[in-house]
């Protein structure tokens, strides 16, 4: 049923390693992207004209930078950013370089995601917190982030799926994982079953991320009557 190539890849643990590399790159890049994107999203939210600490100039500037990175297609951004990867991790090849690229591409995405999640927090609730004498830092930590938590988790799920897609694309310039297996063993050596196997595995990983993420988001959302 399976081609020789597939059996060889499986026997040598290459597919298993591909699964692991995809998961590992996605999770690590997501974590770093969130660590950068979430604070950016907070800054975008609070410095907005309607935010708790309006700084229109900074807000516009940051918005422009974010939009710039978001409007460049990943495949182009990746190639353009190779020198940056070399600067940060010393190499422009392999997983470490790919993670740098994924983070550069995903952080602005996460920032917008976080910004819109935070925007959902009712202005009245923020006002109530202000009326009680909360400082801006207290509003961020005790109101904005906790109240937006379910939306932030949902945003994280969507970002992770996007990052997983990016990680597969990074195969074209030397990334590893299921994307690379599909390209070099499936596509270039004419083994459609290898390609389809990678597709299938990717779908499974995406489904797991989504189901678990949405479940956590739901579970932590106190607006829903359990």
């Amino acid at each position: 049923m399976f081609s020789d190539m597939f059996q060889k890849l499986w026997a040598n643990g290459i597919i298993q390693r591909g699964i692991w590399e995809t998961i590992y790159m996605t999770i690590l890049s997501s974590l770093i992207s969130y660590a950068i994107g979430l604070p950016l999203g907070v800054v975008l939210n609070i410095t907005d004209r309607e935010g708790i600490y309006p700084l229109p100039l900074l807000n516009r500037l940051l918005g422009l930078v974010v939009n710039f990175f978001r409007s460049v297609p990943f495949i182009i951004l990746m190639v353009a950013m190779l020198p940056v990867a070399k600067l940060v991790v010393g190499v422009s090849l392999g997983n470490r370089a790919m993670i740098v690229m994924l983070v550069i591409a995903a952080s602005p995405y996460v920032a917008r995601m976080a910004e819109s999640a935070l925007k959902e927090v009712d202005a009245g609730v923020i006002e109530a917190a202000q009326s009680m004498g909360s400082s801006n830092a207290q509003i961020v930590w005790k109101v904005l982030l906790p109240e937006a938590k379910p939306a932030l988790i949902t945003g994280a799920v969507i970002s992770m799926v996007t990052i997983l897609g990016y990680s597969a694309m990074s195969a074209t310039i030397g990334g590893t994982g299921l994307g690379q297996i599909a390209v070099s063993y499936g596509h270039q050596r004419f083994n459609p079953d290898v390609t389809w196997c990678c597709v299938f595995l990717t779908v499974i990983i995406v489904q797991v991320i989504q189901e678990v993420g949405i479940w956590i988001s739901h579970k932590t959302d106190k607006r829903i009557r359990h």
Partner: protein, 329 residues
């Protein structure tokens, strides 16, 4: 004591300026429940938000216990706000926190430890009659219960003042009544001074001692509720306060008198005495009695006979009676 002096607020939005408050003066004494009534857009919310500087006035002064707070910033402003509670029309509870944790919020931000904060919060939930719902989330509470939690939260730091911006406007009449009762009880037992914003007469009637009628950025009139409500002088006051009146009969061209009765005179059969004494019919256009602060007030609009001489006789009789009256034009 809260004193507003020549308070002004102008918003600038999209290049246009909107005057929301134009030289407002009023004084709220300690222990009072001070009502501010006005139509939508009159500037009520702006006014109350200037008291805790959620809105920065563009002119005039806000004196709290004699101190002008309009220039407060930073830590001083935060400390001021902690001494003034506020409740809102839409309750504004933190949706991801339980009732208990909502009440501990103001304590947390002013640095009270968790144990003490929770003990104090339970006390307050007890006060508002919700100790059995401490662990419920706002989504599991009714509107009235949410407002009770909001009241408990506003009182957590033992503020001297409580600002209420349309606190009952989203509630049904029965729930409104119970929330108003709670506010009254809080004023009586804790001595909290309150500023109550509303567009509803019944809110003022039920709990307020003083009232100011706000009309298009100005205070149109002000005084004790019993005076203003039985005898509104400003056009807007009449409109708001007497708007419940529906003329029972269309009425003719005759002169109209508004009679007002206080607790004493409302007991006596004034009208029958008048008709018997003058031996002539009057047309009753409107009649109403109200309970204000526990006392009964009534008013009645009558139309005099067209005949000048007959009308004069009635007026003569009224002048010698204890009834307060005034001719409507």
């Amino acid at each position: 004591m809260i004193e507003l002096r020549e308070l002004k607020k102008t918003y600038t939005a999209a290049g246009k300026s909107i005057v929301a408050l134009d030289g407002v003066n009023l004084t709220v004494h300690d222990g009072e429940i001070y009502g501010i009534i006005g139509l939508s857009g009159a500037g009520k919310s702006t006014l109350v938000r200037c008291i805790n500087l959620l809105e920065k006035p563009t002119g005039g002064q806000v004196l709290i216990d004699g101190q002008d707070i309009t220039q407060f910033t930073g830590k001083r402003l935060l400390r001021l706000r902690r001494s003034i509670g506020m409740i809102f029309q839409s309750f504004n509870l933190l949706e991801q926190r339980s009732a208990l944790k909502n009440v501990t919020f103001p304590l947390e931000i002013s640095g009270v430890g968790r144990k003490d904060a929770e003990a104090r919060a339970m006390e307050l939930l007890e006060l508002v009659g919700l100790s059995d719902r401490a662990l419920s989330y706002p989504s599991q509470l009714s509107g009235g219960q949410k407002q009770r939690v909001a009241i408990a939260r506003a009182l957590a730091t033992r503020p001297k003042y409580l600002l209420c911006d349309e606190a009952t406007s989203a509630l049904d009449p029965n729930t409104t009544a119970s929330i108003l009762e709670l506010l009254k009880r809080i004023q009586q037992t804790l001595g909290v001074t309150m500023v109550v914003i509303t567009h509803e007469m019944k809110v003022i009637e039920r709990i307020c001692d003083k009232v100011a009628v706000l009309d298009r950025s100005h205070v149109a009139e002000e005084g004790n509720v019993s005076e203003v409500f039985t005898n509104p002088r400003s056009e807007i006051g009449k409109e708001l306060i007497l708007s419940g009146e529906q003329e029972l009969s269309g009425g003719g061209k005759g002169r109209r008198l508004r009679l007002t009765f206080d607790s004493e005179s409302s007991q006596a059969p004034i009208l029958s005495s008048m008709i018997l004494a003058c031996q002539m019919p009057v047309n009753i256009l409107f009649a109403d009695t109200r309970k204000l602060c526990g006392a009964v007030y009534g008013q009645m609009m009558i139309e005099l006979p067209d005949d000048e001489r007959e009308a004069g006789k009635i007026i003569e009789w009224l002048k010698n009676s204890p009834v307060k009256w005034r001719e409507e034009v």
